[in-house]
Amino acid sequence: MAKCFALLGWSLPVIESMQKLNKPYVVVSFPDFEPYAKENDIPFVPYQLNEWSDSSNSLDLLEKLNQHNVDVAVPLFEETVEWAGALNSIYRGDPRVLNRAFLFRNKAMMKRKALIGGLRVGLFEEVYNKEGVKAFMKRLNEANLQVEGEEDSWVHIKPFASAGTVGHRLLRTMNDVDEKCEDEDFPCLAESHLPGREFSCEAFVHGGKIRFLNITEYVKLGYSNFIPEGNYLHSKRDMIMKEMQKMVDLFGIEYGMVHPEWFLTENDEMSFGEVACRIPGGHILELCGKAYDFDALGAFVLCHDPDLSEEELKEILPPIDARPKNFYGNVMIYPHKNQISKLEIPEELKEEPYFLDHNLVPPMTTQKISDRDGFGNHFGTVNFKGEDPDRMTELLLHYENVDFYH
């Protein structure tokens, strides 16, 4: 049993879970959060996590955390993955834990590792400027045996180390490269477009073994998803489980939770997209917790503890073959107009039996919507719950296009 968990980053629901589970913890985050932490009796170590210098480094942080008897570090944000890696490599006496953290933070390195290990990935390359992207697209076109007049092959570019969809651009033509790419985007990863339906997995790993696997069905990337997976994906669960364990072995993941994204073609071929090891976006763990009726955030933290006993694991995680009756889904709501002044909840939503709740906030008097980064900032989430995954899919697709803001 860990003496104390260091939670790197800031997440009130995670802190609440720790309090409810009555587990020792200390939060490490920016000094801005300190007053709130004090006010609410949250054990807290202020740290400039965005700075790396003589006075701000993992050895210094280690010392500060020793006062709290910390022996497990847990990354909550994408940006704290290396910090957690550095600390855990010391706690576990294994320098490779840090290297693995770097793996999670560099999408090109991650893909190379996957490729070596025999996972199916798209064609990818590090690019340094627009010319590089064009050259990549050209080679891709050649490989796809493009005939004159045919469309260009789609290329995605992504920053090496950003969470989720931030900085992700889809380029469909050579012109797109000029129009959509900014100089600040480079260097970055360029990769070919992977066909198939996209989904993510949340694997709770302990001792190098997957102890619980959640599959999140993406209805539309950046907008909507639901848990557990629908009937089709569910029929592929064994295959997915096998691929997942292969990935866990290949990456050498021993403790914690990994959140990879996969693409599944009609021919049952699975391609690896990317993988993260912090709390996934899109309120996935919230949905997952509700669907399987367990404390997903608490489990996320506890799985980082090498000393966690089998009994404790059993207690905190759902059975590995659980199949819940109800599906929980959500759709993130973005305004569709450039200027909005009010929030209107459509009548049909009120009468929708699957509708659960929403946390949409009305806009400030008249609010201008800033340009989107990734998918922009959503204004809140609408949650659904119901027994039929197909109906769920239908609803999520429908509400993505409903105007809540006028």
Binding site: L12, I42, L343, E344, P353, D357, N359
Partner: protein, 664 residues
């Protein structure tokens, strides 16, 4: 899905969300509260939904839904703020409705509260009902309709429906009568508000003639719908027919009764216009004075100018432009028609062609424009009212107290200048003023204070205010940066040269503090108080800047009023009588300072306060700098201390205070 199932489903959800909310620690409580509130928001647009939430209100309160919000302590709530909050939409409107439900539950003895008892809660709810009549009767004002979504309107209406079924409306009837009295005693130029209330009572509340509290409301109804016995139950056409059959003597009695009815509340019925036009058309000029309820001065003026006046009346008065008859009567009684310039101005005005934009504004300001009444008729009708009731000028829902104050002052002291200004503005949709040797043209200046004019104003104000507001703002810009309050120069330039040259301000721009407040109070008393200024009366209105404070005495902002006179009230207390252009009869400025609008010797349209209380809210005024210095030291220090204490303990807390002596 059928209704019942939806309801069952909703109940299940709200219970689930409530459980999540109560089980959350402080960390995620705001988030859970947000979701819970969102569900409540969706549910309470029906009475059933309201009822369900009402049954939960004890639990919601106990679980701390109101904690750390402005609604946490029910004894600190202000009934008059409810309307604005309801209009601001979810989540504010949702928590506001919850807060009212909690008070209703307290009033009904369903839950107990440490700070509010049952009677207080019931009283509060009644006040909320009275100040939200538009929702109670589901007849939202135009502006409300524009700002609120259908869902929000349903929510608020369902709530008031729910509440009014559960609160004794008898208490509300008395408050409605009080509200109508408060409004009518001020004789405002714009009478839409009281007409609306009377209309709504007529439609939605059953009055019992046997009950004494209903009698007053009956009187208000009669003044609009059946001002005389003979007009009862007759449409205006039927009434017109009826008049043809009256003998001279009967017509005279009818005219007398009509005039008396109008003078009671200052409200004019459509029948009145029919009668007046009938009298003039049949050349019964001698019946005009009783028909207008004129006093001897008014009667004399009518006799002197009856021929020219009768043609203006025929051109202006119409059953759908009827309120101007009261203004006309008061204008005659003020005697200003004797001035050649006023008569010329009125004559000119009857011939102008109004600028289309001004015409638009005038029509927009008329609640139910009639096809037979022209914008010019409305304009001249409004002018009658302004000239007859200078103290009835209001600013509507606009930040334009300065312009309203100006129109009122000119009406009283420079009526011909006002008419001339109206003529220019109406024809050109533009206006020019002099300022320190330079010209300011409204159309060439930047924006004024008001960005979106509230058209709930009289036709004269909608004609002038947009320009006056811009000119005032431009003058303020040009006079700023001089280290003193720009009003020192702007007031005389805007209102006219009768504004005194001396200017006293409690606030010192250079030190950013209240400097020598003792001296300031002494100057004020030597200017205004008859016991210290040599027994003199004020001659012209004094434009005074006041601090507006909340009912807790906290500083809210600045406001412009005119000090009109300082005299002993019937009860012997020295009071300051002033014009407050915001026409609000129910004000509470904290520290027990509550301006009254009648019952303390006020003329129609005046507000008043004991002089020391008025002084304690004043921050700037004009004075005759040649006169006050010899009188300043005569003011008793105890009086100065009294004023200073009130000031320091209220708005004064927002400022630094310096005792350095100042040269006044």
């Amino acid at each position: 899905m059928d209704e019942q199932l939806i309801t069952k489903h909703q109940h299940h959800k709200i219970n689930e969300l409530f459980t999540e909310f109560s089980e959350a620690t402080n960390l995620t409580r705001p988030d859970k509260a947000n979701k819970l509130m969102a569900q409540i928001d969706m549910m309470i647009d029906t009475e059933q939904g309201i009822e369900y939430v009402y049954d939960m209100i004890d639990d919601l309160t106990k679980e701390g839904l109101f904690l750390d919000s402005p609604w946490s302590d029910p004894s600190k709530l202000v009934a008059t703020l409810v309307n604005g909050t309801l209009k601001s939409g979810h989540p504010n409107s949702t928590i506001e409705i919850l807060s009212e439900l909690r008070l209703l539950a307290i009033a009904k003895g369903k839950i107990n509260n440490a700070t509010v008892n049952r009677d207080e809660a019931e009283n509060y709810i009644q006040e909320v009902i009275v100040s939200n009549l538009e929702f109670v009767f589901n007849e939202p004002l135009e502006e409300t309709r524009l700002t609120m979504s259908d869902h929000e309107l349903l929510k608020v209406h369902s709530f008031f429906k729910f509440v009014s079924d559960r609160i004794h409306l008898d208490g509300v009837k008395m408050k409605l009568a009080e509200e109508l009295t408060l409004i009518c005693e001020q004789r405002p130029v714009v009478t839409e508000k009281q007409r609306k209330i009377i209309e709504l009572i007529k439609e939605k509340i059953d009055l019992d003639p046997e009950k004494s509290e209903d009698a007053k409301l009956y009187k208000f109804q009669r003044s609009i719908y059946s001002p005389t016995n003979n007009s009862k139950g007759k449409s205006i056409d039927e009434y017109n027919e009826f008049l043809n059959d009256l003998s001279d003597e009967e017509l005279k009695d009818e005219a007398k009764e009509m005039g008396r009815s109008m003078n009671e509340f200052g409200l004019v019925s459509r029948h009145h216009a029919v009668l007046l036009l009938h009298i003039l058309a049949n050349n019964h000029f001698h019946l005009v004075p009783p028909c207008l309820g004129l006093n001897p001065v008014g009667k004399a003026k009518w006799n002197e100018y009856s021929s020219s006046l009768s043609s203006i009346i025929m051109q202006t008065v119409h059953p759908y432009n009827t309120q101007c008859i009261y203004g006309l009567a008061k204008m005659l009684e003020k005697g200003i028609i004797s001035r050649e310039a006023v008569r010329s101005g009125l004559f000119n005005l009857a011939t102008i062609k109004i600028h289309p934009k001004v015409e638009d504004r005038i029509i927009k300001s008329t609640r139910s424009p009639h096809k037979d009444v022209t914008a010019r008729q409305y304009l001249i009708g409004a002018l009658f009212r302004i000239l007859g009731q200078p103290l009835g000028v209001g600013q509507g829902n606009n930040p334009t107290c300065q312009s309203a104050r100006g129109i009122s002052m000119w009406s009283e002291h420079a009526p011909a200048k006002l008419i001339n200004m109206i003529q220019t503005a109406a024809v050109h949709n533009d206006l020019m003023f002099r300022f320190e040797g330079h010209e300011i043209k409204a159309s060439l200046t930047g924006k004024g204070l008001v960005q979106k004019l509230d058209h709930n104003l009289d036709a004269v104000s909608v004609t002038l205010v947009p320009m006056l507001d811009k000119i005032y703002n431009e003058m303020m810009l040009r006079a700023s940066g001089r280290g003193e309050d720009p009003h020192k120069w702007v007031n005389p330039a805007l209102y006219g040269q009768w504004i005194q040259i001396g200017f006293a301000s409690a606030y010192d721009y250079l030190t950013n503090a209240i400097v020598d407040f003792d001296g300031f109070v002494r100057v004020f008393y030597s200017m205004a108080h008859p016991e210290y200024n040599g027994g003199h009366r004020l001659i012209y209105p004094n434009p005074v800047g006041i601090f507006i404070t909340s009912n807790k005495g906290e500083m809210l902002g600045f406001h412009a009023v005119s000090l009109l006179r300082v005299e002993k009230a019937p009860n012997g207390i020295m009071r300051a009588y002033f014009l407050n252009p915001n026409n609000e009869g129910r004000q509470d400025w904290g520290q027990e300072i509550k301006p009254s609008v009648f019952g303390n010797g006020e003329l129609h349209g005046e507000s008043s306060l004991p002089i020391h209380e008025f002084a304690a809210r004043t921050y700037a005024f004009h004075f005759n700098s040649l006169e006050v210095h010899s009188k300043m030291e005569l003011i008793p220090s105890a009086e100065v201390r009294k004023v200073k204490q009130l000031a320091q303990e209220s708005w004064g807390q927002a400022y630094n205070w310096l005792d350095t002596k100042k040269q006044w």
